[in-house]
């Protein structure tokens, strides 16, 4: 466990030493601020930060890949992977350490949006329990997003390639699947059974429907299971990629 924490600590401090960490933080704050100003902070509106959380994933889709791109890629490129994998640590410890480190930084990023809750509380009385479940939702979604980023970072030694692949995957989950299922439902009038199934599958895989409940103060086990199992799947895939690299 202490080796996992040592790896995680190094990963977090690595992000804070590099400009990438601060750029990610600044861009996230800028866009959350826009959501806040356009959707929440309206004269006469109720003090409900819900929309800010419901659409938060649209920002994180483009932010998380830049946090995770270097996790393994940079180790491959610099050759440090050799010092890591010849240390007495297992592959699970290595990848969990990296995952925890990136999650730690992710938590700092989403926590930075607390500033808007504070501003809101100066003008009204938001429901703090809803705020809490919203952050829980963001955290669970983060597990999935960071695991996806970690997976693509383990696949290549090129950071940009890792960032682009995870970005494409997250855009699919966050925007595309939902858009396609929407058009399938609306435009085609859905008469074929397989098309209906496809629509359901796509809608289940999309991120936004899973975030709505959290931003309304509802913790639904189906949503929790979705994020946890997704994260677990990608961590396992990462492990497979790490293992397979040995044999090449």
């Amino acid at each position: 466990m202490s080796t996992v924490l040592a790896l995680a600590k190094r990963e977090i401090s690595g992000l804070f030493y590099s400009p990438i960490g601060y750029i990610v933080l600044a861009i996230y704050l800028l866009f959350v601020g826009l959501l806040f100003a356009l959707l929440v902070m309206q004269p006469g509106a109720i003090a409900d930060p819900g929309p800010m959380f419901q659409w938060n994933h649209l920002i994180l889709i483009f932010v998380v890949p830049f946090m995770t791109m270097s996790l393994f890629s940079e180790e491959y490129r610099s050759g440090r992977i050799e010092t890591l994998r010849t240390s007495p640590i297992t592959d699970w410890q290595l990848l969990l350490g990296k995952f925890l480190g990136a999650m730690g930084f992710y938590c700092v990023v989403i926590a930075s949006s607390l500033i808007f809750i504070i501003i809101l509380s100066l003008f009204g009385r938001p429901d703090y329990m809803t705020v809490l479940t919203s952050y829980l939702g963001l955290f669970l979604m983060g597990l999935l997003m960071v695991a996806i980023g970690l997976f693509f970072s383990a696949c290549t030694q090129h950071q940009i390639l890792a960032a682009m692949s995870s970005c494409v995957t997250l855009v699919a989950l966050g925007i595309l699947f939902q858009a396609i299922s929407y058009f399938l439902g609306a435009a085609l009038g859905v008469s074929w059974a397989w098309l209906r199934t496809l629509r359901h599958v796509l809608r289940y895989l999309a991120i936004e429907p899973h975030m709505v409940n959290f931003s309304r103060g509802l913790v639904d086990s189906r949503n929790v299971v979705f994020f946890l199992s997704g994260a677990g799947l990608f961590l396992f895939l990462t492990y497979i990629v790490l293992e397979s690299r040995k044999w090449r």
Binding site: S2, T3, A6, L7, K9, R10, S13, G14, Y17, S18, S78, G79, R80, E82, T83, L84, R85, T86, S87, P88, I89, T90, K246, W247, R248
Partner: protein, 322 residues
């Protein structure tokens, strides 16, 4: 083998697709010895080392390090091993002591011991005054030393160093060699290099590898003898005051001399002889030179060096052409 061996490779093979990078090699490194692992670039040194350090599994064959199998007991091997990879990759944004702290925690060292060892290894590797420095500000030589300090951190019985003196200036190279030579006895060291003088200076045993196979192994003296026995390696340089052409034809006529080459031809001629140049022949030469009225200024043997041997066995084609 009389001494217990700390590193044993048995029929180790690594294939990248159809290409055999390491082809069925076996060797042993006795405890407490510094062994040079020598070969031209691309000979399979790094691949062999990566199998010994559990970075990748062998295609076939097995290896034991510190008594543990690299495949079945890989975690134990890794905790008994200090490894300096080629180019000593480190985290540029960290500070020296911070990096060593991180590396120590990966090896499960506790705080107090780690603190002690960081003080010791930074002292040993001449890094004591750089402990607070960011690694990115260190020169290549210092980074290399940091890599060695990292390999020594947990005081492992076995050290594997891949080209530890690459990129260092001559003074640093000398210091690093001294450091490695001092490690003998306490640690078993496998030192990969393609610099021959390094091996002659610090190693008690040499393993020469080329195109994935072991070409020769033994102590540097043994290898030199082997080389002298082959004959072709031995060369004699003579400095004689007299007419160069006449001297050459006179010497070439002696039985046992294969070739005479004029190196310089002024009032003093310098010639290089090859052939089976044993003691009797050299006496005969001296007598001949005196008899003809020339003056012998110097006679010394050159060649029979490891370098000669190395070039010969790793690339027979090039040796024949020379």
């Amino acid at each position: 083998m009389s001494q217990p061996a700390e590193i044993v490779a048995e029929e180790l093979t690594k294939a990248y697709g159809k290409f055999l990078a390491v082809d069925n090699i076996s060797f042993a490194v006795p405890k407490g010895m510094v062994v040079g692992f020598l070969g031209p670039n691309g000979a399979g040194k790094t691949t062999t080392i990566r199998m010994l350090t559990c970075f990748m599994p062998p295609t076939s064959g097995s290896a034991r390090v510190a008594g543990f199998d690299v495949f079945h007991d890989s975690l134990k091997v890794r905790s008994h091993l200090g490894y300096l990879p080629e180019n000593a990759p480190v985290y540029m944004e960290m500070r020296v002591a911070e990096y060593l702290q991180f590396r120590g925690r990966l090896r499960g060292m506790d705080r107090s011991r780690l603190k002690e060892r960081i003080a010791e290894v930074t002292e040993l590797c001449w890094l004591a005054d750089r402990r607070r420095w960011p690694i990115s500000k260190l020169s290549k030589g210092y980074r290399q030393r940091l890599g060695i300090a990292d390999a020594l951190l947990h005081n492992p019985p076995v050290l594997i160093l891949d080209e530890p003196t690459v990129g260092l200036d001559p003074a640093q190279i000398r210091e690093t060699r001294k450091l490695i030579a001092n490690l003998a006895g306490m640690h078993t060291v496998l030192l990969s290099t393609h610099i021959l003088s390094e091996v002659e200076l610090v190693c008690q045993k040499v393993i020469i590898i080329g195109r994935g196979k072991i070409l020769a192994q033994g102590s540097p003296e043994e290898l030199k003898q082997q080389c002298a026995q082959r004959g072709a390696g031995a060369k004699l340089v003579l400095e004689i005051r007299g007419p160069a052409d006449q001297i050459r034809s006179a010497l070439a006529a002696l039985p046992g001399v294969d070739q005479v080459r004029i190196i310089s031809d002024t009032t003093v001629a310098t010639l290089e002889l090859t052939g089976k140049l044993d003691g009797a022949l050299r006496e005969q030469m001296a007598a001949l030179i005196q008899q003809r009225g020339w003056a012998l200024r110097e006679m010394r043997s050159s060649g029979a060096s490891l370098e000669e041997f190395f070039v010969q066995i790793t690339d027979p084609g090039a040796a024949a052409a020379a």
